[in-house]
């Protein structure tokens, strides 16, 4: 599932393009200004997506190299 790695581009795009779209304070989400809440969501999504990539990356399934 090598194609999954392209998912990593999503949160990056969210962070780089998001400020053009969600650059506003209202409505507040979870008590935070909209822009901040969006960027926090992108950060959390990054961890999730990187986790998915890690689990499906064949490089991590080969036996561990000698340290």
């Amino acid at each position: 599932m090598k194609q999954l790695r392209w998912l990593a581009a999503l949160p990056a795009l969210g962070m780089l393009v998001g400020p053009f779209v969600f650059n506003r304070v209202e409505p507040m989400v979870l008590g935070m200004p909209l822009l901040l809440a969006w960027l926090v969501a992108c950060t959390v999504a990054t961890s999730g997506i990187m986790g998915l990539i890690y689990l499906t990356d064949p490089a991590n399934r080969e036996p561990e190299e000698d340290a």
Partner: protein, 486 residues
């Protein structure tokens, strides 16, 4: 004398003790001192990388920016997250190459990949230009923290001297192993302190995080989003991207790659380090809480906002704990910078010129250089004045110029030649020097451009020039492609 000072002193003593303890049972040769014998597991590398990037700048500057600038601060969260996304793919091949060849420093990597000592020397010089202001920033932060948390008993100047002295002793005794173990202590403390401050302050003063943001939004409409011009969305995106690319190019951060015992460590950390960056959110909350509570700080004083509000809210012993945490956030990256800086002077500036240098003699020299480098940084800290901010801007923009040569070195067929890589770096660095020293922005250079384009970070220009020159020279050189592959 108050309760804060002994707590800060205790933190320094404990850090020194950890350094001594971390050294026990290890022979301090150069490989141990600079790169921890390449034996660190996932957790130590995690803390070392988190510790290097989570500096006094993030602690004081993150809250200071939230206080002084509002919305644009969010970029810190974004670029730190992106740094780790990139790391998943770029660190493992760099680590493999470094391990096979037994590299010690960042310039070693470039010198070995492009089979060119002169490129190594150039990268070492670029790295030093970037490291010194980074170190000065840590020392300045240390001075602010100790002076404030000691309620003025210790002057900033004295604090800088004590801090630099501690750092030097610490670095000479224990090397990077000590930094890693202090990072363990530091991260526990900072997690506790930052999350506590980020939640307690909004609740104490405003009755919650939501009410706090609403109060700020009412008092200063638009402050919590990006302005339409200046630090606008264009500025935000370009700055986030540039700093994310430049992040790994700082010599001390690059060198931390070498400490890992296996490459899977990096991929694992790429999953968890983004989540760890959410800690910044609480730094922002603390800074925002200060906006309406300790108003009136301007210019460089915004960095004091976190401590001003802590002083106003908490008893001295707790201010001491915040101060101790701040001191540790300066010690970890500070010690890494000293080690990396001293290693690259000895390994990449002195060694190519000394015919019969050995690993042992270079290692001894590196340890001898550490105090001199620390002294130079104290000099810049105390007498550099405001130019330091300027220097730091140059430092960040300058290291980013190493990224293209690094990036293409990972390709199976590197399109850049040795001459191309050098020419690109020189062109990029020159462009940075001219634009930053001259205070040029895109708006000043090209007044005809549409507004949003003018807000692009000026570093984009230098990077574009770097790439153009690197490719032009590489193509002109034709068959001279000689990147070393693994």
């Amino acid at each position: 004398m108050n309760a804060a000072l002994p707590i800060i002193a205790l933190a320094v003593v404990v850090a020194l003790g950890l350094g001594l303890w971390a050294r026990a049972g290890h022979t301090m040769d150069m490989e141990q001192w600079s790169v921890g014998k390449r034996g660190f597991g996932t957790l130590l590398v995690f803390l070392l990388m988190a510790g290097e990037i989570y500096t006094t700048f993030t602690f004081l500057g993150g809250s200071g920016w939230a206080y002084g600038k509002g919305g644009p601060t969010y970029y810190i969260l974004c670029y730190l997250t992106l740094i780790y996304v990139i790391s998943y793919w770029i660190l493992p091949p760099a680590w493999r190459f470094a391990k096979e060849r037994g590299l010690f420093s960042q310039p070693d990597y470039f010198a070995a990949r492009y089979d060119s000592r002169s490129l190594g020397i150039l990268v070492a010089l670029v790295g030093l230009v970037a490291l010194v202001p980074y170190m000065v920033l840590q020392l300045k932060g240390l001075g602010i923290i100790v002076a404030t948390a000691s309620y003025g008993v210790i002057s900033p100047t004295l604090a800088v001297w004590i801090g630099a002295g501690t750092l030097t002793v610490y670095v000479m005794v224990s090397g990077v192993r000590g930094s890693a173990w202090t990072a363990v202590l530091k991260d526990f403390m900072i997690l506790f302190v930052v999350i506590f401050l980020g939640i307690y302050l909004p609740y104490h003063y405003y009755g919650g995080i939501g009410p706090m943001f609403e109060a700020i939004d009412t008092a200063k409409p638009g402050f919590l989003a990006l302005p339409d011009r200046g630090q606008s969305a264009t500025w935000f995106a370009s700055t986030t991207l540039l700093t994310a690319l430049g992040g790994w190019m700082f010599p001390h951060i690059f060198a931390s790659i070498y400490t890992a015992s296996d490459e899977r460590t990096f991929r694992r950390n790429a999953v968890f380090l983004p989540l760890y960056q959410l800690m910044l959110l609480f730094v922002f909350f603390a800074g925002f809480a200060a906006v309406l509570q300790v108003p009136g700080l301007t210019g460089p004083d915004v960095d004091l906002s976190l401590f001003k509000i802590a002083l106003q809210t908490f008893p001295p012993w707790f201010v001491g704990i915040v101060g101790a945490t701040g001191v540790l956030t300066a010690l970890v990256p500070g010690s890494m910078i000293l080690i990396a800086g001293a290693t690259l002077i000895a390994q990449n500036l002195y060694r190519p010129l000394a015919k019969n240098a050995t690993d042992a003699s270079t290692g001894r020299l590196a340890k001898g250089i550490a105090p001199l480098l620390a002294l130079a940084c104290v000099g810049f800290t105390l007498y550099g004045g405001e130019t330091i901010v300027q220097l730091l801007l140059i430092g960040y923009a300058v290291v980013t110029q190493l990224f293209p040569a690094f990036f293409f070195s990972l390709w199976p067929n590197n399109p850049l030649t040795r001459a191309g890589a050098m020419a690109g770096i020189l062109a990029g660095v020159a462009a940075v020097a001219v634009t930053v020293v001259g205070g040029y922005t895109l708006a000043k250079l090209f007044p005809g451009l549409p507004g949003p384009v003018q807000d692009l970070n000026i570093g984009v220009v230098a990077l574009a020039l770097n790439l153009a020159v690197a490719f032009a020279v590489s193509l002109a050189g034709g068959g001279a492609r000689r990147t070393v592959r693994t």
